[in-house]
Symmetry: C2
Subunit: 769 residues, 2 copies
C-alpha cells in the first residue's frame, strides 16, 4: 500500500491533464496477478477462448509446490520452459499446460527442459521482463538462450505462435507432451503424435489430473516446410513394447504413442519468422483440424481479430478514473471475460462429464465453471456486460452437462466438460435462477428447474442425504458441514425464487423451507456458525480462528463463514443480537488482532484484514453487510480499506487467486458503487464508487452511467441520485440498471449517518420482504 499510494496520486495528476476517453484495450495489464497469489497468466487469449497460449516458467513441480505455478507462469521465475495452450485464470487448484512448445536454435536440440539454475542444460531459456509485452490477445518475449523473439496470439479455438529465429541458425521446435501443470507422477495416461501427409501434426493427450482421464487433442500447422522431425518416447521400463511399427529404430516416424513423448520439428535456416498455428479440441483430432480451419489467417490477422474482439468486449464498460485505477479495472474486466470459456468444437461437438462426445444444438458449449467462486459476482457481472446469448449459453451448457452427468446433477467445478468435484454447494443453481429471473431466455426453464431440483436432492453429494433428513449436514459424516449447510440453504432459496416465478408453488414452498436451514447450524451461544453432529450437538472443541482441512468450514473458519446467509441477512442479524451487535462483530472481524496466528499451511488464505480474508470468496460480501445493519457509511469505509490494500496495478497486485474472474468482478462491481450480495434477489447493494464516471453499455443496447465526485478527501456517500432523483435505499434494482440512466453519487468528507438506515431502505432479506 505504501508503494501504491504515491503512484496513484501521480497518475491522478496525469489523468486529469489527459482527455478522459475510454482506453480499455491499452489499459489492460495481463501481468497483474502473475506474481503473488493471483494465479493469472500473461499469455494470449481471446474473450472466453478455448485456447490460453501462455508461457510456462516451470512445470517441474509436484503437489504443494505446484500451487505457485497454477497458471504456469510465475513472475519471479528467471526462465521460460515453453509455451502451452491451456491455462486457468486464477484458479486455486490447477491442471492444464497442454501441448508445450519451445523454439530451439542451432544444431543441438535438447529434448529435456534442463535445470533453471544451469543455463543451457536443456531447452528452457532465460528471459528478461524488459523484453515482454502482454496485451489482450498478444504476448511477446525474447528468449535469450536461443536468441528467439517469441510472439503469441489466440483466436477462439486456436493459438498462433510466431518465432523469429536468429539468422544463420537452424530453427527447431520441441513439443513436450510430458509437460503439464500440477504434473503428479503418473499424470500422463497416454499421448500420441502424428504427422499427416499434408504436413499437419496432430496429437492427443489423456491425463489423470484435476479431472480424471481428461482427453485433449490438437492440430498444428507450420508456415515453413518441415525438413525433418522426430517423435521420441522417453519412457523407461515398459513391460510390453508391442511389435515394430514402421520406422522402428528411427524417430522419423509417421506416428508414435506412449506415456512420455517429445516431438522435434526441424525447419533448417529460415529467412522469415516461423508461424505455428495450433487448434485444440476435446472431441478428437478431426475436431482439432476442423477448428484449425474454421479460423482463417496468419499471425497478424489472428492478432487483429483478437484485438478487435477484446476492444468490443471491453467496451461494455467505459471507465473514467485515474490511470492506476483504470488499469486495475480494465484488467479486472479482462479477467472477468476469460471464463466460462468455449469448450465445444466449431461443429458443435463437445465432450461432456460422461467423457463422451455430444453435440450442442443451437448453442456453444462452454465450460470452466468455477461456480463456488463465480456465482457471487462474476456471473451477475456477465449478465450486465455480455450478450444474452453468452449468458444463455452458460445455462444451456450447465443443463447439457447435467444431462450427461453420471450423477444426473449440475456441474460443481467443471472444465473442458469434465467434473472435478472441487469446492462445495450446488452453485450452478443460483447462476441459472439469476439468469431466469433476469429474463435471460434461450433455455427451457422446466428442464432447468428439474436439473436444479435434481442437484439439490442428490443424497450421495456432499452430505445432502443428512441435510434433507436433519436439516443440516452432519460433521461426523461429512467434512466442512457448517459451510455446506449454509451454502445449500442459499442455493435452495434461489430454487424457491425461480419456482415461484414459474408458478411451481410446491417446489417453491419446499425450497423456501429449506432456505431456513442455515439456522440449524448457527450457534446463538457463541454467535458463530458451527457444524453439528448427527446427534444434534455441535462439534467440540471449537476455535473460531482455526483454519484446517476437513474442519467445519471450507477454506475458512467461523469468522468468515458466520456471515453467509445472503438471502436472509436480517434474520441472521436478529439471531446475532441486532444492528449494534452485528456492527460490533463486523468491526471485530476486520480489526482482529492476528498476532500469533499463522494460516500459511492453508491454500487460498491471503489478503487478510484481521479475520476478513479478501483473497478468498467467503469474505467477499462481508463489507457490504454494514448496510443491512443500518450503517452504510461503515461499508463505505471498509470498501476503501479493501480496495486500497487488496488491488494494485502490479504483477503482485491481486491479494488472492483471481478465481476465474471472481476477485476481479468484485473490484469491478465495487468500483461502480454496488455489488450483488444476493444473486437471485435482483438487487445490488450500494457501497461507494471508485470511478469518476463509468458507463455500462448494456446487452439490451441501453447505457447506464455511474458518476461520482470521488476524491481521497471525499470517502463517504452523501446522496445517491438515480436519474436525478434521490435514492433513499441502499440497494439498486436490476431493472433500474437495465432501463438505462444515471446513478450519481455525491461524495463527501463526512459520513451520512441517516441515509438508508431505515429497515425499509435496507437490501433484500427473505424474512423481511
Amino acid at each position: 500500500m505504501a508503494m501504491f499510494r504515491p503512484r496513484f496520486a501521480a497518475a491522478l495528476a496525469l489523468i486529469l491533464a489527459a482527455p478522459l476517453v475510454a482506453q480499455g484495450y491499452d489499459d489492460v495489464d495481463p501481468f497483474i496477478g502473475t506474481g503473488g497469489e493471483g494465479h493469472t497468466f500473461p499469455g494470449a487469449v481471446s474473450p472466453f477462448g478455448m485456447v490460453q497460449l501462455s508461457p510456462d516458467t516451470d512445470t517441474s513441480c509436484v503437489i504443494r509446490e505446484c500451487y505457485d505455478h497454477a497458471a504456469g507462469y510465475r513472475y519471479e521465475d528467471p526462465t521460460i520452459q515453453g509455451f502451452s495452450h491451456t491455462h486457468f485464470s486464477g484458479s486455486g487448484h490447477s491442471d492444464l499446460g497442454d501441448f508445450l512448445l519451445m523454439p530451439v536454435a542451432g544444431d543441438a536440440v535438447p529434448i529435456e527442459p534442463g535445470d533453471a539454475k544451469k543455463p543451457g542444460s536443456g531447452y528452457r531459456s532465460r528471459f528478461s521482463h524488459d523484453t515482454e509485452i502482454a496485451q489482450p490477445g498478444y504476448y511477446a518475449v525474447t528468449l535469450s538462450d536461443p536468441g528467439v523473439r517469441a510472439e503469441m496470439t489466440a483466436g477462439t479455438r486456436i493459438g498462433v505462435h510466431r518465432y523469429s529465429f536468429p539468422k544463420g541458425k537452424a530453427a527447431h521446435l520441441v513439443l513436450d507432451l510430458r509437460s503439464s501443470l500440477y504434473n503428479y507422477p503418473g499424470k500422463i495416461l497416454w499421448s500420441s503424435l502424428r504427422l499427416h501427409p499434408d504436413g499437419t501434426i496432430t496429437g492427443s493427450r489423456e491425463t489423470r489430473g484435476w479431472a480424471p482421464a481428461r482427453k485433449l487433442f490438437f492440430a498444428m500447422r507450420f508456415s515453413a516446410p518441415l525438413k525433418d522431425h522426430a517423435f521420441i518416447s522417453t519412457e523407461k521400463d515398459v513391460a510390453y513394447k508391442g511389435f515394430r511399427a514402421p520406422g522402428h529404430g528411427t524417430e522419423n516416424v509417421a506416428e508414435r504413442s506412449g506415456r512420455a513423448l517429445v516431438g522435434r520439428f526441424d525447419f533448417g535456416k529460415l529467412d522469415e519468422p516461423l508461424e505455428v498455428k495450433v487448434a485444440l479440441s476435446s472431441v478428437d483430432e478431426a475436431g482439432a483440424i476442423a477448428n484449425l480451419e474454421s479460423e482463417a489467417g496468419g499471425f497478424d490477422a489472428v492478432r487483429a481479430n483478437a484485438r478487435a474482439a477484446w476492444e468490443k468486449a471491453l467496451s461494455a464498460v467505459e471507465i473514467e478514473a485515474p490511470a492506476p485505477m483504470r488499469k486495475n479495472l480494465y484488467t479486472a474486466l479482462y479477467h472477468t471475460l476469460l471464463a466460462p470459456s468455449v469448450a465445444g468444437d466449431a461443429d458443435g461437438r463437445y465432450r461432456g462429464p460422461d467423457n463422451a462426445v455430444h453435440r450442442a444444438d443451437g448453442f456453444t458449449f462452454r465450460s470452466t465453471f468455477s461456480l463456488w467462486d463465480t456465482f457471487r459476482a462474476e456471473h451477475p457481472l456477465l449478465t450486465l456486460i455480455q450478450p444474452e446469448k453468452t449468458n444463455s449459453d452458460f445455462v444451456r451448457s450447465l443443463i447439457a452437462s447435467r444431462k450427461a452427468s453420471p450423477h444426473g446433477i449440475l456441474p460443481v467445478w467443471q472444465f473442458q466438460g469434465q467434473e472435478t468435484w472441487t469446492m462445495i454447494g450446488y452453485h450452478a443453481v443460483p447462476v441459472i435462477a439469476e439468469a431466469y429471473l433476469k429474463g435471460i431466455g434461450g433455455f427451457d426453464a422446466n428442464e432447468a428447474l428439474e436439473a436444479m431440483v435434481a442437484s439439490a436432492t442428490y443424497a450421495p453429494y456432499g452430505g445432502l442425504g443428512d441435510y434433507m433428513k436433519l436439516g443440516y449436514v452432519a460433521i461426523d459424516r461429512e467434512p466442512e458441514a457448517a459451510s455446506k449447510t449454509v451454502e445449500y440453504a442459499y442455493d435452495d432459496w434461489t430454487i424457491a425464487r425461480m419456482a415461484e416465478a414459474m408458478g411451481r408453488k410446491d417446489i417453491a414452498a419446499a425450497f423456501s423451507k429449506r432456505a431456513g436451514n442455515w439456522r440449524n447450524s448457527f450457534d446463538a451461544k457463541t454467535g458463530f456458525l458451527r457444524a453439528r453432529k448427527s446427534d444434534g450437538g455441535f462439534r467440540v472443541p471449537f476455535d473460531p480462528t482455526a483454519i484446517n482441512y476437513g474442519s467445519d468450514y471450507t477454506e475458512g473458519n467461523a469468522w468468515q463463514y458466520s456471515w453467509f446467509v445472503p438471502h436472509d441477512q436480517a434474520a441472521l442479524f436478529d439471531v446475532m443480537g441486532g444492528d449494534a451487535a452485528v456492527v460490533k462483530k463486523l468491526d471485530e472481524m476486520f480489526e482482529f488482532d492476528m498476532s500469533g496466528i499463522d494460516y500459511s499451511h492453508a491454500e487460498d488464505i491471503a489478503g487478510l484484514i484481521g479475520q476478513y480474508i479478501h483473497g478468498n470468496e467467503p469474505s467477499h460480501h462481508v463489507a457490504y453487510l454494514y448496510n443491512y445493519a443500518g450503517a452504510p457509511w461503515r461499508t463505505q469505509e471498509r470498501l476503501k480499506q479493501i480496495v486500497d490494500s487488496q488491488y494494485k496495478p502490479t504483477p503482485d497486485g491481486l491479494s488472492g487467486n483471481d478465481d476465474l474472474g471472481q476477485m476481479s468482478a468484485w473490484l469491478m462491481f465495487t468500483a461502480l458503487g454496488f455489488y450483488p450480495v444476493t444473486p437471485g434477489s435482483l438487487e445490488y447493494v450500494i457501497g461507494r464508487p471508485f470511478v469518476e464516471r463509468a458507463t455500462l453499455n448494456l446487452p439490451n443496447g441501453k447505457r447506464f452511467t455511474i458518476a461520482a465526485n470521488v476524491g481521497e478527501d471525499r470517502p463517504y456517500v452523501g446522496r445517491v441520485l438515480l436519474n436525478g432523483r434521490p435514492l433513499t435505499r441502499s440497494y439498486l434494482r436490476h431493472e433500474e440498471i437495465m432501463a438505462g440512466g444515471e446513478l450519481r453519487f455525491e461524495m463527501q468528507a463526512q459520513p451520512n449517518r441517516t441515509w438508508a438506515v431505515a429497515q425499509a431502505d435496507r437490501p433484500y432479506s427473505m424474512s423481511r420482504r
Copy 2:
C-alpha cells in the same frame, strides 16, 4: 494318431449305417483346439460376431506364460475365473479377455479371483468338463463352487449370460475390469464403470496391449432388479486421487474410474435364472447401448437366432464323410467363420487405426485381420462360402483402414480397427487382388489399387526402402529379411495381376518386375532362400535348420521358407535344379531326421513332420508343390500323412494355432480335394479329397459338388472328372467352381504316375503362363 485311427474306423462303421444328411450344426465341436496349441475358445459367438463370450480359465499369466492362454480357456485347467466377451480364435500372440463377469452365490463376495490351487480363496470356481456343453453360439458349464449353472449365447454385437443360482442363496456378479488376456503390468491404462438411472451399467477400458491404447466400451442390462452394487478401486499408491466425488467413502456410487476397478452387483435371492445382456462397442458407451438395443430378445431368443445364423452359415458346405471327419470339417468350417469379425457399431460408426471414430457408409466395418495367415486359404475359402457382401465388406474395411492409417497403408495385423504390426508382408494386397479378380464388387477398384501401391511403396515399413532400392530386404538393417523379400515379391505379383486386369499397364509392369525379386534372396549354391546384407553378400553363418527370432526368417527357417514363390514355383524349381531335385528336396524336408533338434524356444513351431511344420503357415502350401514338379501322387501321399497326423476331433486336435481360421481353411480345402496355393491366380491346385461327397452352396446360388470313392485302401487319385469329363490338369479354375457342377475323384490303391505330369497340366507359374 494311434488314438485316432480306431475311433475313425468305429465312426465310419456308424456313419455308413446312418442317413447321409448334412448335420453341420451338431457336428461342430468348439472344444477342438482348446487344448494343445490350437488357441481356440469354446464359448459362444455368432458368425463373424463382435462378441466372443467365453470362459477364461486363467488370466493371471505374464508374458511367455500367457501364450498357453491366448484364448483365455485352456482345456487342462481345473477352474474357471470368469466369462469375458472378447477372444481371438487361434491367434499366436494375444490380447482381449475384456469385461470378465463371474457369478458368486451367498453372503461373502470376494473381489479377487483367488488361487486356482486354493478352492474358495476367490471368486473363481472349479468345474468339470462333464458339465460343459459347447455348440456354435452356445456354451454352458456348472460352476461347482457357487453351485451356479452358467450359460452363454451371443448375437452379432451382444453376448447374453444366464446364471441359475442355487435356491436360497443371494445372487451376485463380479465384473473384474483388471482382468485381461496377456495382462502385462501396466496394461490397464484406464477404465470406468457407471450405473444409469434405468439400471443399465456402462463402462470402458483402455488397454496398452497388443494394440496400444485400445478403447472398448460396454453396456449391460440385467433381467432382475439390482438391489445393491459396488464400484471398487483396488489401485494402490495413486499420487493424485482427485477431489471427493459424490458417494466418496462408500462403494455404492453412480460412477467410478481408475486403473483397477471391480464392480459388484447384488440381486438378492432369485427365483428365476438371472440373464445378463451385454453389448460392446469400440466407439463409445452410447454406441454400446445402441448395439444392445439393436438386438432384441432374451437368452432363448438370442440363442435361437445364433443357432439359425450358424445353421445358415454352415450350410455353405454339405459334407458327407465319416463322423470324426465330419466333426473335424464342420468344426473347421465353424472356425473359418469367426474372423474377420464385425468391429463397427449398428449405426455404422467404428474406431479406425488412427484411434478416431469414423462411419462406414454402405458397409459393415470388420476387423481382426490376421492377414499373414489368412491370405493363404481363409480368405480364398470365404469367397466360396460367404456372400459377396461379406467379402466386399472385408475389402471396404481394408480400404477404410488405409484411409485412417497414420502411415497411409493397408492393415497388417489389425483388430478392433487397431494395428498391431504383427508378422510381415502387405497381405491385405492379395486379399484385395483376389476379390477383384474373382469379380467381387461393391468397392472402388482404383481406390483399392492406390491403397495397394501405397502399401507396397512405403519405405519405413519392414525394409521396403531397401527392397525398392536393392531388390531385397537387407538383413543388416531389417530382421527376417529373407522372408520379407519373398513375401513382398508375391504380394507385388498380385498388384501386377490386378493392375493388368484394370488396364493399368504401368503399374502392372513395375510390379511384375518386382515379383521377380525373390530371386535376389535365393542362394543357388546352397539351394536355400537366404538373407542378403546391404553389401550384397549372404549373411553367415548359415544353418538351414535354425529357428530364432531376428533371424533371416519369420517363425521358421530356410527349410520352410525356401518354397515360398507361390506365383512362380516353376522358376524357383528351375533354380533348384528341376523336377527330380525338387522332389528329392521336398522328400528330404518331410523326412528330415529331427533327432537332437529342439524348437521349444520358439512360439508357433508345432506339428512337425521332419522340417515340414504344419502348425505354422509357411509350410501350408508345401505338400501341394509335388504337383508343380510333375509328381501329383506324392502330394496325395503327403496330404494323407498331414491330415491323419495333424487334425483330430479332440480338444488337442489342432497341431498349431488355428490362426483365425487358416489352419481350418487348409483342412477344409484339402478335404474337398483342392487348395489355393496361389491366391490371385484364380486356380486351386488339386490334391486329393477326404470326403465322400461335399457340396458347396456357392454365393451365386449354384452348387458345386465333390464326389469321391475315398477309402483307406484307395489313397491315390486315379482320374478326375469335371462335370463328367476327365480333367487332365492338376488344378481347377475358380470359374469352374463358380459355374457349379461336379468334380468327381476316382480314387485307387496305386498312384497314377501319368496324370497331370506334363508341364502344360501343372498349376500356374508366372514364368510359364
